[in-house]
Symmetry: C2
Subunit: 330 residues, 2 copies
């Protein structure tokens, strides 16, 4: 069965049955209402929207459920990076009439698995036809941080922490999808990108000691470059971030190889955190408490730019309109 053989109500019912979470205590509105009511869980709301074309998320080794998972992960990452606990989301879908009913079910299963894993409630959505399927996810989170960290607060002397493990999407970016598809470890680590909700606790609890944050959705070099540019300072990288052991073997431990593969990429939902130097240990302790993989990769410097071993680092990013390109040559 293709979606074009079904009517809208049948499709919407399928989506609602699979996805929609019930109202919490003290909440009333429920499917098929268009709007839902939520009680605030902390003094400050965080709000974001993230959208994707399904084809851009659908690496050949990803199933539709992986696509659903990846899109939820990417959407909540924006909230987590600002110290917000993602609480509820709304999902709008544009669906091709040529999509199979099983493919839609797979996609929904991926949304649901991610929502259960991260503890985010999917509370509503909207369905449309589209010539190429797309997904838009809007998230509400809550934070106790009196001042959520921006991207632009880095000050000279701050430490730069990078959470997460890198190198798999970098391999895809450098070598291309075809070559990457032959490596089991690249496939394994890029199938379902991960983030950690606990990171939001670390950021909200330490907001006074954290000068800036940004998630790594468009590649680590782009994130570091953007934070340094917006802050008006530079970053000196002293070490690559944590990488998969398979990348380490592939690079034979060569540092510039490790830096190349770990700073390109995308969809790696770690967070770059600038920390005031005197509070580094406090933040590290909290990261360790929650078992969040991280490395202190360098420090902020007054000289603008992004440096590694005395040279400027190349900056890459993924451009929705033009694909992967080099933003600044080294």
């Amino acid at each position: 069965m293709y979606l074009k053989d079904l009517d809208e109500d049948t499709v919407v019912e399928l989506i609602a049955r699979t996805l929609i979470f019930k109202p919490g205590l003290g909440e009333y509105l429920f499917y098929p209402e268009d709007a839902r009511d939520i009680l605030p869980r902390a003094p400050r709301i965080l709000f974001s929207i993230d959208a994707y074309s399904v084809s851009s998320l659908k690496l050949p080794w990803r199933s539709y459920s992986d696509v659903g998972w990846a899109s939820i992960t990417g959407a909540i990452s924006d909230i987590i990076a600002k110290g917000g606990i993602p609480h509820a989301c709304m999902i709008a879908l544009g669906l091709q009439p040529t999509l199979r009913e099983e493919e839609l079910e797979e996609l929904l299963r991926g949304f649901r698995e991610a929502a259960d894993h991260y503890g985010v409630r999917i509370i509503g959505g909207d369905t449309n036809t589209a010539s190429d399927s797309w997904i838009a996810i809007s998230i509400i989170g809550f934070t106790t941080a009196r001042i959520p960290p921006s991207r632009s607060g880095l000050k000279p002397g701050d430490y730069v922490i990078v959470t997460g493990v890198y190198g798999a999407m970098g391999y895809v970016a450098v070598k291309g999808i075809e070559e990457a598809s032959h490596l089991d470890w690249v496939v394994k680590y890029t199938k379902r990108p991960q983030t950690r909700v606990e990171l939001a606790y670390v950021i909200e609890n330490n907001y006074k000691y954290i000068s800036a944050t940004m998630d790594v959705s468009d590649g680590l070099s782009y994130t570091l470059y953007t934070m340094s540019r917006l802050s008006g300072h530079g970053i000196v990288l002293e070490s690559p971030p944590l990488v998969y052991s398979e990348l380490y073997e592939y690079c034979k431990g060569d540092e510039s190889c490790l830096v190349e593969y770990s700073t390109q990429g995308g969809e790696e939902y770690g967070v770059v955190i600038g920390v005031k130097s005197e509070y580094l240990r406090l933040v590290e302790k909290d990261l360790e408490y929650f078992n969040i993989p991280y490395r202190v990769v360098g420090r902020v410097t007054s000289q603008q730019g992004l440096f590694f071993r005395g040279k400027e680092l190349s900056v890459y990013r993924y451009d929705q309109l033009r694909g992967w390109y080099k933003l600044r040559a080294s």
Copy 2:
């Protein structure tokens, strides 16, 4: 210039410059942050998402700015119908590379004009490429209502109020776009659909007296039918809703003609309100205070169905996957 000739940053900068509202008092995050922080303005949050393909909104007589306007109006309507004051929104866009830069600017102007008109802040978004342009708008509103009205609370004896003025989109639905395009009044009243934010005050202030609400986004007959079905009761229509004087002339005052054209349609962002019979005057007084056009169109009955002058009314709706169709024949 087409969008395909521009890079993502240029397009995003254009969108941000045109659309993005600054943080309010006590708020911090601002463009280019992915997430924004909001302080709650009432004890209960209302949250929704609404999405559209641009082509489905683009009646031949609508400019791109009208499309932007219509999409904001539709999105906030869901919040208003539940007694929420729409406060802030995020807009995700899928843009065809073949869209002209001027067309994008028009669309953005329409968003901005609607946001200014309704007092809603556009605080962020996301941009993607798409083979057919689409828009997804997520809204946060706030309500003082302890229990926001659902669609399903109608009880026998309740009065049924319909706000708004009808007949223009009904003419489009009945006669088709081509014939409708020759009538000045149809073009005028469907170019920029309207809703009224003040309606949210009436609903939140009177939530104890209101048994059910739903907006008229998919046509009045569909709204009445859905509310009666979900409530497990029927509605006896005693009068058509308010209609444009031009429709009245066209129908030569014939009641069944008026009912036909006013109950078909869509994108008519009035609200159907069920009111406990003893409190009708209180709700009417508030509607009059805010100058909101309305009519008491009938009452709720224990017999299931939707009736007018002793006969069951035909129910029409717009189906995203199949177009306009008759849901229940009379």
